[in-house]
């Protein structure tokens, strides 16, 4: 396993795209969060969840993370590298596990940077948008339990998105199809849910959609109004990632490379 881990780490770090993707994921996440924090304005009648506002960047960050994870598998298939990998490490589940560990770890690191950056950006920008202590909004701080949970949870969210993407890519191999499936699952599922007229069906869809459920972790106020509780929501995403990894692992094991 150590060898497999070392091999995966070498493969990932020697591709320049990895660094680019990780950096752009962090930068775009912080940038989008900052823009939204700047655009939101205080209004007495419309209370805002400023933690969630600051962490909005995860909407774009997750797409970059998905590219990274999908490429970790699909790129090997497209250039035939996968056959070398499987000759070197014949126990195929170990290959996927090693990839999951390495990709998960680098995404955790980049995600932590991105989310911390978002919180700092929010802390600096939000008071200018009117979210001041005088209006009942203390500065964002990780010392606040719910904010810490939202921030740490968002980092975990990104890592789970990476694992989900990895599993999907292992199952379908083709990068284009894998990224289409992952982003469709993330972005389109909630749009469909929002457009469905039946409120009960809508709520159920939001409880099982990986993005809507997973991002419940970012809410810090009005938790009773959420379709699903924060940690339960992240659990739903973890279940999606687990099923995807299992499917991918099974496909890898049973299929010729």
């Amino acid at each position: 396993m150590t060898h497999a881990l070392h091999a995966e780490w070498t493969k990932l770090r020697t591709v320049t795209a990895t660094a680019w993707l990780l950096v752009s994921a962090a930068v775009l996440t912080v940038a989008l969060g900052a823009v939204v924090a700047h655009a939101v304005t205080y209004s007495a009648g419309a209370p805002q969840d400023i933690t969630k506002v600051s962490l909005t960047g995860v909407y774009i960050g997750q797409a970059i993370v998905a590219i990274l994870a999908v490429q970790a598998i699909s790129a090997e298939y497209s250039c035939g590298m996968i056959r070398v990998t499987l000759v070197a490490v014949p126990r195929r589940p170990v290959v996927l596990a090693a990839k999951a560990a390495i990709v998960g770890a680098v995404v955790l690191a980049a995600g932590a940077v991105a989310m911390l950056g978002s919180v700092i950006a929010g802390r600096l920008i939000l008071p200018a948008s009117g979210f001041t202590p005088a209006h009942g909004y203390p500065p964002l701080s990780l010392g606040h339990g719910a904010t810490l949970r939202a921030t740490a949870g968002s980092v975990l969210y990104l890592a789970l998105i990476a694992l989900l993407s990895l599993g999907v890519a292992a199952a379908v191999r083709e990068a284009a199809v894998a990224i289409g499936l992952v982003l469709g699952l993330l972005y389109v599922f909630p749009i469909i849910a929002a457009l469905v007229g039946d409120k009960h069906l809508q709520r159920h869809l939001e409880q099982i959609a990986p993005m809507s459920a997973g991002l419940a972790i970012q809410s810090t106020v009005n938790l009773g109004h959420l379709p699903i509780a924060p940690w339960a929501g992240l659990g739903v995403l973890a279940a999606w990632a687990g099923v995807a990894l299992l499917t991918g692992g099974l496909a890898l094991k049973l299929r010729d490379a």
């Binding site: 655009a39 304005t41 699909s74 959420l226």
Partner: protein, 525 residues
């Protein structure tokens, strides 16, 4: 020479078409995209017998009512309307006029918050600022049935004196305060109705004049007051049941004095709460009482076009988003697969004029997508509307031309995004990066605009400046300046006109296609 060139291009298009149709996965993908669009037309509409409006944060304990959208009242021209107001009226036989001085308007709002669909019973109004579109004035109407032909001249809460007719007609008079009394007069001469206003009852100014074709010989002339629900325009919407536009019932009161009716009449004053049975949230504390000089009338409701009444043709098009993702993947692979397999070198050896290869590819993928997309949308709208109507829902009458625009426009939207994907794929050459870039350009702005914390202003700019502006082509509901409503994309309202929105997407596509051509020409394959 040009004949040879044209033949050359035809051959290229044929080659690209052959590439497309002989890859089984692509053909299956295209069919899959169409099937998804139609399938979701079914899923998005079938449950609507059980939909309705839920009040309360937690659906488990929420009260849900009105399981279907029933048919609203229709104006003489077939537009769905709200026609709920308190009326004090007398028959007016033939020509004549009605005159009154309208005292200051005062407002009431429903107490205790609440949401849309609040019952008209058991609500007591609390004193509040008068609604901007509260109306008090004079009306001549064919009958007291909701949807009847009418003309009215009125003092509004915040928009001065207006002359309105047949629900959609609206002419502005002087912008005077609702707090100072104003003289109003409405005269009928055959089918022409003319509204006048005056500050002192001596010197009169014409506000407007309309011809009402369907006005009965004996019309009802009288005094009316009504006040539409106030909409919370600031509430942000998230996925997950938070936010949403809350409508609060309001009421208005106005005093009328110096009331005179000129012309023949056959009966005395009669009071009626017209159209009380409405889906609109209204206050129940309405009525009138005589005063020493005239009457004080309280009303709640609106005389206006019904915004977002029933379902629209966009409802069955929910699946377009899924079809779009499939098409983005297909169109990107149409070029990136060539790079991956090295086929691009064969293609470019066969046709050294590279720009033309790109345009041939764009023509083929665009045309296939347009045909498949428009066909899927036509089927979706037909099936979806049929299901909605079968379940007793009202579907907004958008008209054949508008439907055709939505069907062909959505086909064009899909085709443009396909060509855009091809261009981005050519520039980036990697499918994963290209597909993500396109989705981030086209779908992410829509999500951020409709479902993030962004307030209405920045959300609208996202839907003006990004390729997501193209979704405006699906818009069928008209916006009315005289109805205050949360005109946001989730409700089917876009900041740009349909054609302009599609034009923005088209501009992005064209620019990216030109960049792609440049890259293809200058870069080694």
């Amino acid at each position: 020479m040009s004949a040879i060139t044209r033949e050359d291009f035809t051959r290229l298009v044929h080659a690209e078409w052959t590439k497309f149709r002989t890859v089984r996965g692509w053909v299956i993908g295209m069919v899959f995209a169409g099937v998804m669009i139609v399938l979701f037309a079914y899923l998005a509409t079938f449950a609507h017998h059980d939909g309705g409006i839920c009040i309360g944060p937690n659906p488990a304990s929420a009260t849900c009512q009105s399981f279907a959208h029933p048919e609203p009242a229709l104006s003489p021209s077939g537009v769905p309307v709200t026609d709920t107001y308190y009326l004090l009226h007398r028959p007016l036989i033939g020509n004549g006029s009605v005159t009154a001085r309208v005292g200051s308007l005062s407002g009431k709002a429903q107490t205790g918050g609440g949401g849309a669909g609040v019952s008209i019973n058991d609500l007591v109004g609390a004193p509040a600022a008068v609604n901007q579109w509260a109306k008090a004035g004079l009306i001549v109407t064919t009958s007291t049935k909701p949807g009847a032909a009418y003309a009215a001249v009125m003092l509004t809460g915040g928009h001065g004196v207006r002359m309105q007719s047949n629900y959609t007609g609206d002419t502005a008079g002087p912008h005077v305060s609702a707090l100072t009394p104003r003289w109003l007069r409405l005269t009928r001469s055959a089918t022409t109705l003319t509204g006048y206003e005056s500050a002192n009852g001596a010197s009169w100014t014409k506000v407007g004049s309309v011809k009402l074709a369907g006005l009965a010989a004996t019309a009802q002339a009288g005094l009316f007051v009504t006040s539409p629900p106030s909409t919370d325009l600031s509430s942000p919407q998230y996925f997950g049941g938070e936010g949403g536009a809350n409508q609060t019932a309001t009421g208005a009161s106005a005093s009328f004095d110096h009331v005179t009716l000129q012309g023949r009449s056959s009966a005395g004053w009669k009071a009626q709460n017209v159209g009380a049975n409405t889906e609109l949230p209204t206050l129940s504390s309405v009525g009138y009482r005589p005063t020493s000089a005239g009457f004080t009338i309280s009303g709640s409701g609106d005389i206006a076009p019904a915004v977002a009444a029933g379902y629209t043709d966009e409802q069955p098009l929910t699946g377009v988003f899924i079809g779009l993702i499939v098409l983005i993947v297909l169109a990107t692979m149409f070029i990136t697969a060539e790079y991956r397999r090295g086929l691009i070198r064969t293609t470019l050896s066969a046709t050294p004029r590279r720009g033309r290869v790109l345009f041939a590819k764009a023509s083929v993928i665009g045309a296939i997508t347009f045909v498949a997309g428009a066909a899927a949308c036509a089927v979706s709208i037909a099936i979806g509307n049929h299901i909605l109507r079968t379940n007793g829902n009202y579907v907004y009458p958008s008209g054949t031309l508008t439907q055709l625009r939505v069907i062909l426009g959505t086909g064009a939207l899909l085709a443009l995004v396909a060509v855009l994907s091809l261009a981005v794929g050519t520039v980036l050459r990697r499918s994963a990066a290209a597909i993500t870039a396109v989705i981030a350009l086209v779908i992410l702005p829509y999500i951020l605009a409709t479902a993030s914390a962004l307030p209405t202003g920045p959300s609208d700019w996202l839907l003006r400046l990004t390729p997501a502006a193209g979704f405006a082509i699906e818009q069928t509901l008209p916006q009315y300046h005289q109805v205050s409503y949360l005109y946001d994309p989730t409700g089917g309202f876009y900041p740009l006109a349909p054609g302009v929105g599609l034009g923005v997407l088209g501009a992005y596509t064209l620019v990216l296609l030109l960049i792609a051509r440049r890259m293809l020409l200058t870069r080694d394959a």
